[in-house]
């Protein structure tokens, strides 16, 4: 199994920052962590930092106790160096494992966001009011409230999207029988029961972590098997920007790191509100927040597998909402990918989000703009990339199908050049042969490249006539994918999971057997 993993795409990274600029930002981040330092709302974390040489003192702010922590540069640098540079994220199907190596820009794309709204798409016919013989097809969109059934559908769909490498649940479960207490086990179960790729999520309740980990052990085949093949991992946004270390998330980080499972230390400051809008300020601040988070994980347990989770966004200046599909977003994210590479920690990045509320031209522009640039950065683990609309507020499966096609083209585009001496020699022979023929056509000689998958196919949803049928064709493809069986867990595993994990909804199993 150790050799199996998804191929991904190794790219030649596009770098905005020079080495000098990287060092300048690194020093700026260390300086921020040293003074003013961080505002820590978790006593245990503050103590841990203090025990390792940070300057810590207590303050009361608006009636709340907090600890000011000033981290010396040496403490941060030493801790970050202990974070592993290379590790695997596991999967139910070992062929779907991911190899994250900070020094190899192998890119993977996945979902994300845990939206509350699912957007269903149906094609309808419309007749022109002026001419009854003119009939067109157009999409109609319906908003549904996210639930376990839709999460299962999303996972089954993502299993079948060939350019999707990992799964972060894109829809929240809001069923009447899902409570805060059983939320974690049911969201992980529904995901793992419908996809064999890596599953990652945030944790709702710290006291359900043990149940989630036990479920993962049963599915992976035991404690040792889960260590070798961590089929699940977690996301912890331990900083509330600017520079505030969150109490309950810090507790979750303690528990997840102690459980030995991989973790994303993510930070998402908004340029113009919770961070400077200027590139230098934004990157210095987010980098400081992530470095402090990584330091924290390594102080809990040296060598804990952790991702550099950078989700820097910009504020819209008309309403201060997040603004994803804009040039600054790409600049911030590319810089962060370079910083992660500098620290030798695999990078969790973001692409494919925009303001568009439905699939169409605007969505295509916003998504392509970031899908392409962030992929070019060589960030190893790019989330939010499939199906998101209305920023990160809704998930549309038809959009996910469209994104899969777009990401496939980007992966193809960014492949490494094939220009070895053999390639050049073969080309010379081919040209000589063709020039010796009467027709001077290279078409026949394209076959080898076609069969090797080196020649890309036309856009899957292209229209040949005078009307744009992209969405209609994506709707049809979604229906075809959804007609395929889901890769459910075996009956034995299901029995064991249901026997041992409290809080799982019996109907989820019942619905599967119908």
């Amino acid at each position: 199994m150790s050799e199996l993993f998804r191929e991904g795409t190794i790219v030649k990274p596009y770098e905005r920052l020079s080495q000098e600029q990287i060092l300048r930002l690194h020093k700026a981040s260390l300086s921020i962590l040293n003074d003013p330092g961080i505002w820590c709302y978790n006593e245990r974390a503050a103590k841990l930092f203090g025990d390792h040489g940070a300057k810590v003192w207590e303050e009361i702010e608006q009636g709340k106790t907090l600890w000011r922590v000033q981290l010396p540069a040496g403490l941060v640098e030493e801790a970050v160096e202990k974070a592993p540079s290379r590790f695997f994220l596991g999967a139910r199907n070992p062929k779907n494992r991911l190899l994250l190596d900070s020094q190899i820009p192998r890119i993977y794309f996945g979902t994300g966001s845990e939206t509350n709204t699912w957007i269903e798409t149906a094609m309808e016919q419309f007749v022109s009011t002026g001419r009854q013989d003119v009939v067109i097809q157009a999409p109609r969109f319906t908003e549904l409230r996210g639930n376990t059934e839709l999460l299962g559908r999303a996972a089954q769909l993502c299993e079948n999207l060939e350019n999707l490498d990992f799964f972060i649940r894109p829809v929240n479960i809001q069923d009447p029988d899902v409570t805060e207490d059983n939320h974690d086990v049911n969201k992980f179960f529904t995901s793992l029961n419908n996809i064999t790729k890596h599953v990652q999520a945030g944790l709702t309740r710290l006291d359900r972590l043990d149940d989630v980990v036990r479920m993962a052990k049963i599915i992976a085949g035991g404690k040792k098997a889960l260590r070798k093949n961590p089929i699940i991992s977690f996301i912890a946004c331990v900083f509330k920007s600017p520079l505030q270390f969150v109490k309950d998330t810090a507790d979750k980080v303690f528990a997840i790191v102690e459980a030995g499972l991989p973790l994303v230390i993510s930070s998402s400051p908004q340029g113009g509100s919770s961070a400077p809008v200027q590139e230098a300020g934004m990157v210095a601040q987010i980098n400081a927040e992530i470095l402090a988070g990584i330091t924290f994980t390594q102080l809990i347990r040296e060598g804990a597998p952790v991702l550099y989770g950078s989700v820097p966004v910009r504020a819209r200046m008309d309403d201060l909402h997040d603004f994803y599909g804009c040039p600054e977003f790409n600049q911030y994210n590319i810089d962060c990918a370079q910083m992660a590479r500098f620290y030798k920690v695999p990078c969790y990045s973001t692409a494919g989000v925009g303001d568009a509320k439905v699939p169409g031209m605007q969505a295509l522009f916003e998504k392509l703009f970031t899908h392409l640039y962030v992929a070019m950065s060589g960030a190893q683990y790019i989330h939010y990339a499939f199906g998101l609309l209305d920023r990160t507020n809704s998930f549309c499966p038809v959009q996910a199908v469209l994104d899969d096609e777009q990401i496939g083209k980007i992966k193809h585009c960014l492949r490494m050049p094939k220009v070895s001496q053999t390639d050049v020699d073969d080309a010379g022979k081919m040209i000589a042969r063709v020039m010796a023929s009467s027709h001077r056509l290279f078409a026949r000689h394209a076959r080898k490249a076609i069969h090797a998958g080196d020649v890309s196919k036309p856009y899957r949803f292209e229209s040949r006539g005078m009307s744009d049928r992209v969405i209609e064709q994506a709707v049809n493809r979604l229906a075809e994918i959804e007609s395929r069986p889901a890769p459910h867990l075996s009956v034995d595993v299901l029995d064991k999971v249901y026997d041992e994990i409290p809080g799982l909804l019996p109907r989820l199993r019942h619905e599967q057997s119908i």
Binding site: S438, H439, R440, L441, A443, R444, H445, R447, I450, H451
Partner: protein, 227 residues
């Protein structure tokens, strides 16, 4: 290899689109194995009946290839590779077929008209026509009307295929049709035209027999003419 094995192997290699041994096929691992040229030469050495070779190795195989293309299994390069195989086989069999009094489907004069250097489409048509059993005389590109007419007359060709990519050169096609009339052989030849700016309507306007939107359509048009 006995006669039947050899025939089956040639047919298989036509479908695989392998002209010579160094070609790869559609299936994996065929590079280096004898292909249509080598196998057909062996068939000739073994004195296998030329007509039998045409019917059993080439005609049926091209029908298979056409079906695979229609189903989207094969792409144009695969189709052209198979057509080139048939062309290569016909080059080897030609003298024996002539000796046996077996005729091709007809003689085709092919040219890109005067003033136009574009010949990719015309070359693809040439490969496909040869693959479909026609004898093709390709005059190249930028060919004046007089020469096209002269070659048609001299070779007793039954078909003339004209290609143009430019709106400025397509009018040359009309010149060719008129010249064929002027020398009194227009009723002895079928004129097929093609190229991006041309159309059914344009073919009708200039008095051509058919417009072909691409090489595959050209083969279809000829089939519909019962040729």
């Amino acid at each position: 290899m006995n006669e039947q094995e050899l025939i089956e192997k040639i047919a298989y290699n036509v479908i695989q689109g392998r002209v010579v041994a160094e070609d790869e096929g559609f299936d994996e691992g065929l590079e280096g194995e004898p292909a249509v040229t080598e196998l057909m030469e062996q068939a000739v050495e073994q004195n296998i009946d030329a007509k039998k070779l045409v019917v059993e190795c080439l005609t049926g195989s091209m029908e298979d290839v056409g079906e695979k293309y229609d189903k989207g299994i094969y792409l144009i390069p695969d189709m052209l590779a198979s057509a080139e195989c048939v062309g290569a086989a016909m080059d080897i069999l030609g003298p024996r077929l002539a000796k046996a009094g077996i005729e091709t489907k007809g003689r085709f004069i092919l040219a890109t008209v005067a003033g136009d250097l574009h010949d990719i489409g015309k070359n693809i048509v040439g490969i496909m026509l040869k693959g479909a059993g026609f004898e093709v005389i390709d005059l190249g590109n930028d060919v004046p009307a007089d020469r096209i007419v002269e070659e048609t007359r001299k070779n007793n060709a039954q078909f003339v295929g004209l290609s143009a990519l430019l709106t400025t050169t397509m009018r040359e096609m009309e010149k060719v049709v008129k010249s064929l009339q002027n020398v009194g052989i227009r009723d002895k030849v079928r004129v097929l035209i093609g190229g991006a700016p041309t159309s059914d309507k344009f073919a009708e306007q200039i008095g051509a027999d058919a417009y072909c939107r691409d090489a595959f359509h050209a083969v279809d048009v000829l089939r519909k003419m019962n040729i």
